[in-house]
Symmetry: C2
């Protein structure tokens, strides 16, 4: 076999384009690549490893001859197409929140729980961006000295919205403020230029936002540690790319900063 | 007596101008107002309640006929002039870090420990900006249910640098980034435009920055609670004015969010 037949679902989006870039950089063994998107983007042409490829509309038949499909689409779209793809023998790696907390779907961060892909039934979910970077740093410490409590406050960039419209809104509003003009929010609930928004996604009945609650639930699932007490406060900041986090951890036993630093320097990716 | 003879020391600075604005808004009873600054700013003319006043250089003799002096100058300048002013009978209210942790100087947030001004010996210090807003919110809760532990992560605006140069640096760098140009940091240690800097003031030997350690020490002094465990992470964010904080508190006894909200809504200023 020369390589895998790969599909990118949501190919024209911010994350879809990043999928393509990473596949190219890693020289991922591909026999073919299909670029799939909504009907709005169908017909666009994109380059993958110097080859021009037409974007096709995603339809149930799109997955017939596909080994691996990388999904980055809204959760509702993934909920519809991922099971269809899995049914036809495709391994789906889904970037949305659609299946993350489904007990039969592994939620995987390769640096933490790569072995969980063994029990997949066609769909493998990957977590929220702010969860990923936190568990990569915390898991090597947790293995040595089990974590009892996590308090995390985030500084999340607009790229986390996974839309070019979010990037444009920060750019546009920033220019408007510098020009002394008013701003009108579209993508974000309030002005994001020169402002901090402690509100990412909707508020749940428990008082947390959905983004915050994702960090709680997903961290427990990935680290196989249902009893860790976790509180997250997620804030959007006027930064284009790159999430920052202040993470406070209580371990089972005392741990010196030196020991923690030593463990982290020994850990690839952390 | 018609009113107080007031001096603003550092009158041309960001905070000095704010002092003047607040005195005007409150209709503070003043017999006279002296505007003092460094020799660089001496000779400038500013308006206070429709009266044009010349800024004078601060010299030891400046305080001879002054009842109250509001200082917002670098700590070294305050260390020199505040005791001189106090000696000549002036009550100094100092915005710098010069005397905050001096045992004989009260460190006061009116909403929290106004009674501490009773034992002043000529100098009254006011705390770091990020400390003030935190203790105003925490003290009414602490009175009801003593606080054992505080974890705070901040999102501090560039106005906290108390210099127009900091505001200008955010403006200039933002334009440069939008124009695709590089930036050169002057006021901040790294680019502040579209960036988060987890570094405010210098790093101390204990691993905290001086800004973070101020929050620890000043909070304990203001709340008269030396045994509260406090950890602060201070980050500068690309926002012009207004500090935000995520504050996590452990009380002596369980406290429901409803109870906490009820107490805070009953508290002026909180």
């Amino acid at each position: 076999m020369k390589g895998y037949r790969v599909a990118i679902v949501g190919a024209t989006g911010l994350v879809g384009q990043e999928f393509i870039k990473v596949l190219e950089q890693r020289n991922f063994p591909m026999e073919s690549i299909s670029l799939l998107a909504s009907d709005r983007s169908a017909g666009k042409r994109m380059f993958v490893t110097h080859q021009e490829i037409e974007v096709k509309e995603t339809v149930p038949e799109s997955f017939r001859e596909i080994d691996i499909a990388l999904f980055s689409v809204p959760a509702e779209t993934s909920k519809y197409f991922s099971p269809i793809a899995a049914q036809s023998g495709t391994v789906v790696i889904d970037n949305s929140a659609a299946f993350r907390m489904t007990p039969t779907v592994p939620l995987v961060v390769p640096e933490v729980n790569a072995e969980d892909i063994k029990w997949h039934k066609g769909i493998i979910a990957n977590p929220n961006c702010s969860t990923i970077q936190m568990v990569v740093a915390l898991y090597p410490l947790h293995k040595v000295n089990p974590i009892k409590r996590i308090i995390v406050d985030t500084y999340q960039s607009v790229s986390g919205m996974r839309s070019t419209a979010a990037i444009e809104e920060l750019t546009t509003q920033t220019k408007q403020v510098l020009d002394g003009q008013g701003t009108i929010p579209h993508v974000f609930p309030h002005q994001i230029a020169f402002n901090i928004l402690p509100e990412i996604d909707v508020f749940l009945d428990n008082g947390y936002t959905r983004e915050e609650w994702k960090m709680v639930e997903e961290t427990r699932k990935i680290m196989h540690a249902d009893d860790i007490a976790i509180s997250a406060t997620c804030a959007r900041v006027p930064v284009f790319t790159g999430h920052s986090e202040a993470v406070h951890v209580e371990f089972s036993r005392p741990m010196s900063p030196e020991d923690a630093r030593h463990i982290l320097t020994q850990t690839p990716g952390a």
